[in-house]
Symmetry: C2
């Protein structure tokens, strides 16, 4: 009997990759509009390199971009980048399609819900609160706060411990085959791979750990029914 459904946050609940791309492009455009002597394509590809090297939570992307482009430092251009980046993030943060109706349906089915995510705890909570989704989740586990990263089993064990359930009473839903699906399967949870976003075609070597694959979150309630032996006559594609 399934009692708890856990979700990853980025690109499973919050539509963040697309947002980050928009925010970065708008930042570069605004820097150029305020006089930064660079062309868009060069600056954007340099920014992507920089993010790959320093990580997305590095907080001096725009300073470093100027250095990498051999442009003299000007706080005006950095400010222009910061403004456009934040305005985009605040104005366009969206939930992934069908998130709210799915969460509501799962709640109606009597399930408990949780989030298991990596990343900066304050930034992750900002997304949940800005989307006004906090009331749906009984527990939010952020791996940085526990001191590990997914797929470390500690975060998944801690998650089921919080609810006092067995691993096979829990389902993990996420877009990352490695960190979400392989991670949850290690401790014995049921797994649903959400084939979405930039990881839809990556980490395929871990596909064998996915019990189900979905491309729309609204397929989830039916999968829970199948796992509970209530929907065995219905057509759901188990891998």
């Amino acid at each position: 009997m399934i009692k708890v459904v856990f979700f990853d946050l980025d690109d499973t609940i919050a539509d963040t990759s697309r947002l980050a791309e928009m925010a970065r492009k708008n930042a570069i455009e605004n820097m150029i509009r305020h006089g930064m002597p660079a062309d868009f394509d060069t600056a954007y590809s340099e920014l992507l390199d920089l993010i790959r090297e320093y990580g997305s939570n590095f907080n001096r992307h725009f300073d470093y971009l100027l250095r990498r482009l051999d442009i003299p430092y000007n706080p005006k251009w950095v400010a222009a980048g910061v403004i456009a980046y934040h305005n985009t993030k605040f104005a366009y943060l969206r939930e992934v399609r069908h998130v709210r109706r799915t969460l509501l349906k799962l709640k109606e089915m009597g399930l408990l819900l949780g989030i298991i995510t990596d990343g900066n705890p304050i930034k992750q909570w900002e997304k949940i609160l800005r989307l006004e989704l906090d009331a749906y989740f009984d527990e939010v586990l952020i791996s940085d706060f526990v001191g590990v990263k997914k797929p470390h089993p500690k975060i998944f064990r801690k998650a089921i411990g919080k609810f006092g359930v067995e691993a096979d009473e829990a389902v993990m839903v996420g877009d990352r085959l490695y960190s979400d699906i392989y991670g949850a399967k290690q401790v014995g949870m049921h797994t649903v791979w959400f084939k979405y976003g930039k990881y839809a075609d990556r980490e395929k070597e871990y596909l064998k750990y996915a019990d189900f694959t979905i491309e729309d979150l609204k397929e989830l309630p039916e999968i829970i029914e199948v796992l509970n032996g209530e929907g065995a006559d219905k057509e759901v594609h188990a891998d």
Copy 2:
């Protein structure tokens, strides 16, 4: 002959003290609304103490607030504070009354305009750009970027040097008698004290360095005329 008018930024061009107060109060309210176990007055006064001790550019105010209130750390409450703080700052940033019409009038009179401000260069530029006031100013000098703080004479000398004018061809307008008025007077600039905001009743020992005192920026064009000997018959109160 006056050629350049310099302005301070905070509480002279951008109405920032009132904004900061609103933002801080909204942050505390949102933290409490999301479950932080504290009463508003205690938390707000603790936050003010913290800002006094660590400075307003310290970036861990809300983390430290929890510690000072002996409340266990919860990134959700920090995120709630950060969101409300930023939303307020972005939504309610306003220019001081009559800024734009005054800048326009001074431009029509053929004057060059500059800003001389302390503070984090990126944050100061953010205010100027968000207010869409950058086109009015020929030079923006941020003391942190020069490596000094007002009233250090270096920043004022650098300012007149940028325009290639003599000190007595320049006017400094600001709300701080110490950093703006005493500072500018040291290098021989004309000074206009803008009696406004939280410094309206402080640092009175430096009042003797103010050539003029105004309570509304729209009095500035007439003061320039008086300094140029064109408006001597008009009533302007020189201190």
